[in-house]
């Protein structure tokens, strides 16, 4: 049956080719897709250059037959949805907005504005992925680079606590390992690739050197490397403690100091295990330290398509990257206090707007229990565990497939999206603008609420 459908698609006369489209599945944000779109069937039938994840992203985002809005499970109009959502937000004393990493910057900007207007909280999925890297950045800074610079110059590429072969398949082939660059004329042959992890993964075979460390010992290994780089003594028990021998560490230090241009990529294996922001701080500091000997950069390998955009938007509007609260009429930042898992787990928020993410499927049980007690407004392109418990559920168009807008690649490079086909559903931005406008009308005259 599947084959038959595909044959039919190929025969459709109404075919459109979109060149240089952008895949927003992961933080690689590859902008070299060639999409074949069947406009009659409202689906992408071919995605040239896409990786396995990208193909799934493009093929599976068809137009579902479902109502634009559900209120308490009942079908409603967009206007009714916006009205109810605005009422919920205005009535709440401690509303929170969460998600945003699979939405455009244009929508993210409106989401922050709504929270500013109603004195709510804004938080993104950063708080459960590279939030610790953001906090480490505040502490120690970062030496970093755009991915094109890695392609052109990096002769030593180290991955720490990640499995890009499965999570970011084209990270190796488009940006960091195999491509030829300005000063890397032979591609992978001119680079040394090191992988550091607690287990072998499908990424391991690509590495020239694989360093296996004991789980939960990242910080100790990183700190030992920092000491060795600076010519200081380390514990004689290092191998017993971390699983990594002194010889392996010395070899790694020598390679790092002698590289022409080195890079340390790191993943959630580092940020979401024991040590968290200390781990991120250690790896960022190691890269900075190495600049006393050569040129060295570091880069968190970000997950969602526009989580980097969310960090940027929240930062430029509030000064802080995530976990921001407006209760006092100005932004305050305190991860642990204003981050969504913590707010929910303590049973605090009395309304939540969840945009393009599914905390009801992946948050701690206690947090999810609280979500079930409060009115949730959900904006998502697909039905999720969260949308199923929502008081107001908006079905929205998929960013990058049905809508334009801006996304930021994991290295902060901003890219404009080229939509492939129209959707009958509104974009996040349109829904959020509707809610914002209605919230403003409802608060008119409530000067005390509008002003700080």
């Amino acid at each position: 049956m599947v084959e038959a459908t595909q044959t039919k698609s190929k025969e459709s006369k109404n075919i459109k080719i979109v060149k240089d489209a952008t895949c927003t599945f992961c933080g690689c944000v590859c902008d070299d897709m060639e999409l074949t779109v069947d406009l009659d069937e409202h689906r992408i039938t071919k995605a040239k250059k896409a990786c396995v994840l990208g193909r799934a992203w493009f093929y599976e985002h068809t137009i579902d037959d479902r109502p634009v809005v559900l209120i308490d499970g009942k079908e409603a109009t967009l206007e009714e949805g916006i009205e109810t959502a605005a009422q919920v937000l205005v009535d709440a004393k401690f509303p929170i907005t969460y998600g945003l990493s699979d939405s455009t910057c244009e929508a993210q900007r409106v989401a922050v504005e709504i929270m500013d207007i109603i004195n709510g909280s804004i938080d993104t999925t950063t708080s459960v992925c590279h939030g610790p890297s953001g906090m480490a950045f505040q502490g120690v800074g970062e030496s970093t680079a755009t991915l094109g610079e890695i392609k052109n110059r990096a002769d030593l590429v180290i991955y720490w606590g990640g499995n890009p072969a499965e999570s970011h398949p084209r990270h190796f082939t488009k940006y960091a390992v195999t491509p030829k660059g300005m000063y890397i004329p032979n591609g992978k042959k001119d680079r040394t690739v090191v992988l550091v992890d607690v287990r072998r993964t499908p990424s391991t075979p690509l590495a020239d050197i694989f360093v296996l460390i004991k789980p939960g010992k990242d910080f100790e290994v990183l700190w030992a490397l920092r000491a060795l780089v600076k010519g200081k003594k380390i514990s004689e028990n290092i191998e017993k403690d971390t699983g990594v021998s002194r010889e392996v560490l010395d070899d790694l230090v020598s390679r790092m100091k002698n590289a022409q241009y080195g890079v340390l990529f790191f993943g959630m294996g580092l940020t979401m295990t024991r040590g968290r922001h200390f781990n991120s701080g250690a790896i960022l500091s190691l890269a900075s330290d190495l600049n006393e000997f050569t040129h060295f950069v570091a880069k968190p390998v970000r997950g969602h398509g526009n989580v980097t955009g969310a960090d940027n938007v929240v930062s430029w509007q509030t000064g802080y990257p995530f976990g921001v609260n407006f209760n006092r009429g100005f932004p305050r930042f305190n991860p642990g206090e204003f981050t969504t898992t913590d707010v929910f787990s303590r049973g605090e928020a009395d309304a939540a707007m969840i945009i393009a993410s599914d905390p009801a499927s992946n948050f701690p049980k206690k947090a999810i229990e609280h979500m079930k007690k409060i009115p949730i407004i959900s904006l998502d392109a697909k039905d999720t565990c969260t949308s199923k418990i929502a008081k107001v559920r908006f079905a929205v168009a998929t960013y990058g497939i049905n809508t334009g807008g801006t996304v930021y690649r994991m290295d902060d490079v901003p890219i404009s999206l080229r939509p492939a086909f129209d959707s009958p559903f509104p974009s996040d931005q349109e829904v959020l603008e509707g809610i914002r406008n209605r919230v403003k009308e409802l608060l008119k005259g409530d000067k005390a609420r509008l002003a700080a």
């Binding site: 060149k19 240089d20 952008t22 902008d31 070299d32 910057c105 900007r109 500013d116 953001g134 950045f137 505040q138 502490g139 120690v140 800074g141 970062e142 970093t144 680079a145 755009t146 991915l147 094109g148 610079e149 392609k151 052109n152 660059g181 300005m182 000063y183 022409q260 241009y261 900075s288 600049n291 000997f293 050569t294 040129h295 950069v297 960090d311 940027n312 938007v313 930062s315 430029w316 509007q317 509030t318 000064g319 802080y320 006092r328 009429g329 100005f330 932004p331 305050r332 930042f333 801006t406 930021y408 902060d412 490079v413 901003p414 890219i415 404009s416 000067k447 509008l450 002003a451 700080a452």
Partner: protein, 549 residues
Amino acid sequence: MSSELKIVNGRVYDPKNNIDGKVQDVYVRDGKIVESVSSSATKIDAHGMVVMPGAVDIHCHIAGPKVNLARKLQPEDHRLDVHPKTAVTRSGTGGVVPSTFATGYRYATMGYTTAMEAAVPPITARHVLEELDDTPVIDKGFYVLLGNNAFLYKLLKEGRKKEFQEAVAWWIDSVHGYALKLVNPGSDELWKGRKNANITDVNEKIDHYDITPMHVIESFIEAADELGLPHPPHIHCNNLGHSGNISTTLDTMKAAEGRRVHMAHIQFHSFGGEINKNAVSGVKPIIDFINANENITTDVGQVMFGKATAMTADAPLAWMLRNVKFNKWVNADTECESGCGIIPFSYQESVYTHALQWAMGLELFLMSKDPWRVLLSTDHPNGGSFMSYPKLIKLLMDSAYRKEAIEHVNQKAINKTVLRELTREYTLSEIAIITRAGPARALGLENKGHLGRGADADITIYTEEEDKEQMFNAPRYVIKDGVLVIKDHEFATDHKGKILHCKPGYNADIADEIEPFFEDYYSVKFSNYAVSEDYLHHHEVIPTHPKDS
């Protein structure tokens, strides 16, 4: 229905139109200055007040990736200086690198209505435009970093001057930039490619390209001249912050050979003394040269004591500063285009170099013979926040206050300058020139910086006070595009300013030359690089005047 405004009984300072403190009325209709209005116009009685055009910041860092990294880097700075919302304005955070909304509002509350972001790697232009769209009230544009551009270097190496100029125009047009910016030309390749090295001499060969920084500087000056850009190349010279750098700065100015050039934050480039030894003031030969050469404009880049943030495309400079205190440091390499370094910083009265820089900035202002060409800036936030401009104005206008301030800083440093001997006091008209008319003229913004017929109705009205810091800190009224944005010191409404940009002409075939280079060495597709006009929202194209037309 047209909106009309008349400002009556104010003392008007409008140097471009030779009005120096005369009491006269100013009329506004539909966002422009006009010669008369109807009797139903809204009236503002400015009796006892000073009326000036809105101020123009010719050099600041307020939007884009490096600014946002510096924001993220300093939560401790925001926490101490919150910016609450009002019934009509958004909230934000301040500190030396404020959030976008706080930046726009705070500029407005100082009487500034235009500000130019001075350093943008073109690949990040979308980001800059998004932030500028969230920067309220003021008009704004940005300078495009092209002085370390790998493709342009390749054309220079091949001696293809014509194509070089076409490509420069293509770049400005593609990202909607305003002017050309050069930062430590040649240094990026050494920084990224030769283990953090730096250029030390304008005549040194740049690795891989067989050209020198001097060659790069001359080529951009010529290109801007040919293209007729409203503002000449905006140059951050080589050797910033190094003792004895005046020879580099003088060589750079001489390279213009009479053509227009703007020297950015000249204070940082005016060190005398010997290389790698303690610096002394080298202001005299620099300001003498500027005074004698009318083709040169400059902004001072005054250092103000207190918190600052070094934020620069000059990555080796930030590395040098990092190695002073080993505090948190950001480096960010941008493929084929730029470097970047960020360091939180603090200027202290007791530190020799800091006091020397403070005094050198004041020397530059006080020894300048032409206020139209030596303009006010702190290179915000590098020398200090734009919020310190009123204090700087007081230092220039009040010699007794200055004399007292001199006594409180490192005396060894003061003794290496002639600051004590300089008794000059700036007049209100001269302040209007260095903050309004001068920057507008240097930028080629014909509708800014004055109150003549047809000018943009960007107007500030100050209560006249003896204490000039207090006076310039809080205008009573600020009018932007004819809209009364600040009334009796409070925001009366929110307002969106414009993006100012240029569209130089070029032969479209140049794109065919650039595209293959992108496919080889950039990580984004060529077709996704140029920025759509959707990002401009409310905008104005400032005309170019190409030589061959």
